[in-house]
């Protein structure tokens, strides 16, 4: 699934404001107690009150629509199941689909549905229901980007419990596409009934009103025991109000509330700060196709001129990790053994000289204030590369102008991706020569070849090897300067246990949470 840019508006939430505080940042990571609750026996019962960000004007009940509200997405994913869900390792784990298998050419994929899966009204889930739902998803305006390469007519049922997807091309990572938006409804659910349509998920809808909802345990869930009696989702327009509500004890979890709230909460003994690493990438894009950064040596020089530790400490208030110019850091296939690039101003200057880079000129770095922290990252970057002799002037653009005029076209600009924990996602979407969102205009034959080979390799170990090659090329030559990854940050009351720690949309997996009270 692609990330709706409004969807991540809050994700970085308060990162930026925290940059102001960064100077006095302690830097030590004192995020209190672990929310994991390991070793404790889960208790049954209780109502978990969860705050999630959303705007009243953007409320939608359509599981296959564009959910700009985190609150809407949370409600939908607790009530309805997708075929697969994000995991830590592997990053795609079963949900409504219990297993899947590919043909030898990696084009045809068979998904077998979980045994005993039923809708909340008691009727069993059939392959027909799934096919109808996937086709409905595919036929929405965003359908092509959510199920890329899979035409609606190539989604078919086989018997009652198998769904067959045929891709236009070999795709070893196809199940990944089914993780976030493949919500399953009963066949022929009318658009007008979407709000109360029975799902198959761990919770049933009790009521929904103006973005708020109460969900009760689905005792018959095929996925295992659900501990909580109920979850109440409360919609919040601002992270500040959500943090206030948590600190005042009006809610138990403030989902994706951001770094500023975390800094306040760290001082409180009765609040847990849940950090979900690898949540958000905010790379700097250097155009490779033409312009002043087309020479790979210049890009290398900038990557050596940035002080990554300082970026993480100041822009992210320390709520993040240093990155190595490879996107997809949360992927189990991420190449951890590629040596970490560190600051080397002497080498950077030498490379600039070799490339004949014109250091008398001032170069514009275009950015937006779409997510707080982004513009600050640009400013800090500009001051850092100046030490290598590169003069950069930061230009802040209005969001709509930026996406229209600068994105995919500019020589030097900031971008952001609410995470996708997958190396292949970024390779396919933003780096393969003919990809639709090739942000740096990068065309690299070896990279393309490695990508195609990886996608057509069935053997997992062999594929991992090819993916490693691919990441090495990306590290050496791509148009990205990825200095760090921001954590996703939730706050929780002292009694909350077993909250998800996955980045991005993994935060909605509340079916195993429980309350120690």
């Amino acid at each position: 699934m692609n990330v709706n840019r409004r969807q991540v508006l809050w994700a970085g939430g308060a990162i930026g404001a925290s940059a102001l505080l960064a100077a006095c940042g302690s830097g030590d990571e004192t995020s209190a107690k672990s929310p994991a609750g390991k070793g404790e026996k889960p208790r049954r019962g209780g109502t978990l009150r969860v705050g999630a960000l959303g705007r009243a004007s953007a409320i939608t009940r359509d599981p296959h629509g564009t959910q700009a509200n985190e609150s809407d997405y949370l409600i939908i994913s607790l009530v309805h199941d997708t075929l697969t869900v994000p995991g830590a390792k592997p990053n795609t784990v079963p949900r409504l689909a219990a297993s899947w298998q590919a043909s030898d050419d990696l084009k045809t994929w068979r998904f077998t549905l979980a045994k005993g899966a039923t809708f909340h009204d008691g009727t069993p889930v059939t392959a027909e229901d799934v096919v109808w739902s996937l086709k409905r998803l595919r036929n929405t305006p965003s359908g092509a980007s959510r199920l890329p390469g899979i035409k609606a007519e190539n989604i078919k049922a086989e018997g009652t419990d198998t769904v067959v997807l045929v891709s236009d091309y070999a795709n070893a990572e196809l199940p990944q596409l089914t993780r976030l938006t493949t919500f399953v409804l009963k066949k022929d659910t009318k658009d007008s009934d979407l709000g109360k349509a029975p799902g198959t998920g761990p919770f049933k809808l009790d009521w929904f009103r103006s973005g708020n909802a109460r969900l009760v345990r689905n005792a018959d869930w095929y996925g295992g025991d659900v501990h909580l009696d109920a979850i109440e989702v409360k919609i919040f327009e601002s992270p500040q109000a959500m943090a206030n509500a948590l600190l005042a004890g009006q809610i138990d979890v403030a989902s994706n509330v951001g770094a500023v709230a975390a800094r306040t909460a760290e001082k409180r003994g009765d609040v847990q700060v849940v950090r979900r690493p690898n949540d958000m990438a905010m790379p700097i894009v250097m155009r490779t196709a033409d312009g002043p950064f087309a020479d790979v040596k210049v890009r290398e020089a900038l990557r050596l001129a940035v002080d990554r530790e300082a970026m993480v400490k100041q822009v992210l208030s320390g709520y993040g990790t240093v990155a190595n110019d490879i996107l997809g850091t949360g992927d189990p296939a991420y190449a951890k053994d590629v040596p970490q690039r560190t600051r080397d101003l002497a080498r950077a200057k030498q490379l600039l000289k070799e490339a004949g880079f014109d250091t008398s000129k001032t170069y514009q770095l275009l950015t937006t204030e779409d997510i707080a922290g982004l513009a600050e990252s640009a400013t800090l970057f500009a001051s850092q590369v100046r030490e290598a002799g590169v003069k950069v002037e930061v230009v802040r653009q209005e969001s709509a102008t930026f996406w229209d005029k600068t994105w995919l076209k500019g020589d030097l600009y900031t971008t952001y991706w609410g995470t996708n924990d997958s190396v292949v996602f970024f390779a396919s979407k933003t780096m393969v020569s003919d990809s639709g969102q090739n942000e740096a205009g990068w065309k690299n034959k070896e990279f393309d070849a490695a990508y195609r080979k990886a996608m057509a390799t069935k053997d997992a170990a062999e594929r991992a090897k090819v993916l490693h090659e691919l990441q090495q090329i990306e590290h050496d030559a791509s148009g990205y300067l990825l200095w760090g990854m921001a954590d996703g940050i939730d706050l929780a009351g002292a009694a909350v246990r077993n909250l998800p720690t996955l980045p991005g949309y993994g935060r909605v997996q509340l079916e195993r949470a429980w309350l120690a009270r």
Binding site: N4, S57, D404, K429
Partner: protein, 332 residues
């Protein structure tokens, strides 16, 4: 000061309670003018959204949707038609109560069904509190003009009216929710979409009302001072009437038109301030609907919010006009 605050709509001198037909005609005239003004405002809303960069199709798309997908979305939302045509469609639906469809496919009337009454409740309570507090404080100050009390009230009123709502709101949260824990920090709703407890209304109402109380106290005080200079007050004082009777029977009725106009003007300020205050307290009103709709370039939703709030402001202004007409007509 009171003179400069006298609102623009002049009461027709001849209109009075003794001529119901003429009053009705006058009301109808004002109403028609105000509704035309509202229609003009709504047209301006559509035009303004058109001038903003990007459109609702862009705003509600996902990154990386192709140009063809975007075009399809634009067609679905009817954005490929000229703005005048879309405005006309929307306006013609208005009399039937149809406020159109949002860019995310929800009925605008449904989107506003719960939030709007909530905002009315918040604004209404704040208006009542403003009226009661500013009349009380204004009278109190005017009772001994130039005395220490008068100076204290006038000075603090001036100080308070200069405070933006968000400063008041943040301070209230800090003191009454974070430090003392006496009141809830934010408003949460129950299953019918209204605030779960009356205690949740206290802080938002105060945050909205306090700056307006400052403003209106000054108006009341000034109107009473103006009125006190009138000859019939001197007569009443010379007649030896009790101070309280002079205030309630002679001063206040004379000052009423100005006070009514001042409070009516506050209605607009209260509804505008609600957008900010609702965000800080997470109050489930139209403020957050409006903020999101502007970000989404969602003209029908923005126009829907403007239409319903405009209708309320029109009604309150009309009421204030009637009060002024009645008060001045009865006395002249």
């Amino acid at each position: 000061m009171a003179g400069t605050l006298t609102p623009t709509a002049r009461p027709e001198p001849a209109a009075g309670s003794r001529q119901p037909a003429r009053t009705a005609l006058y009301v109808a005239g004002v109403l028609v003018r105000r509704l035309l003004l509202l229609a003009g405002l709504l047209a301006a809303v559509f035009a303004a959204v058109e001038l903003l960069p990007g459109d609702a199709a862009d705003a509600t798309s996902e990154r990386g949707e192709s140009a063809a997908d975007l075009a399809q979305r634009r067609r679905l939302l009817g954005l490929d038609r000229p703005v005048a045509e879309r405005f006309w469609d929307w306006m013609t639906g208005l009399p039937t109560g149809d406020l159109g469809t949002s860019a995310r496919g929800e009925q605008v009337a449904d989107l506003l069904a719960r939030p709007f009454p909530n905002t009315l409740l918040l604004g209404g309570l704040a208006l009542l509190l403003t009226l009661a507090a500013s009349v009380a404080l204004g009278c109190w100050a005017a009772a001994r003009p130039g005395g220490p009390l008068d100076r204290a009230v006038s000075a603090s009123a001036t100080g308070i009216l200069a405070l933006p709502e968000f400063v008041v709101a943040v301070a209230l949260v800090l003191v009454f929710a974070q430090w003392t824990g006496w009141l809830p920090a934010v408003t949460l709703t129950d299953s019918d979409g209204s605030p779960a407890s009356w205690r949740m209304l206290v802080l938002p109402v105060l945050a909205l009302a306090i700056p307006q109380i400052g403003w209106n106290t000054r108006i009341v005080r000034a109107a009473l001072a103006d009125e006190a200079r009138a000859p019939h007050i001197d007569t009443a004082v010379l007649d030896g009437l009790p101070r309280r009777r002079i205030l309630t029977h002679h001063l206040l009725p004379g000052a009423l038109p100005t006070i009514a106009a001042g409070v009516a003007t506050s209605t607009g300020m209260l509804l505008g301030g609600a957008v900010v205050v609702e965000t800080i307290f997470n109050y489930p009103g139209i403020g957050s609907v409006l903020a999101g709709a502007v970000a989404d370039r969602d003209s029908p939703v923005i126009a829907g919010v403007v239409a319903v709030t405009g209708a309320v402001i029109t009604a309150v202004l009309l009421l204030a006009d009637l009060v002024r007409t009645w008060a001045s007509g009865g006395r002249t």
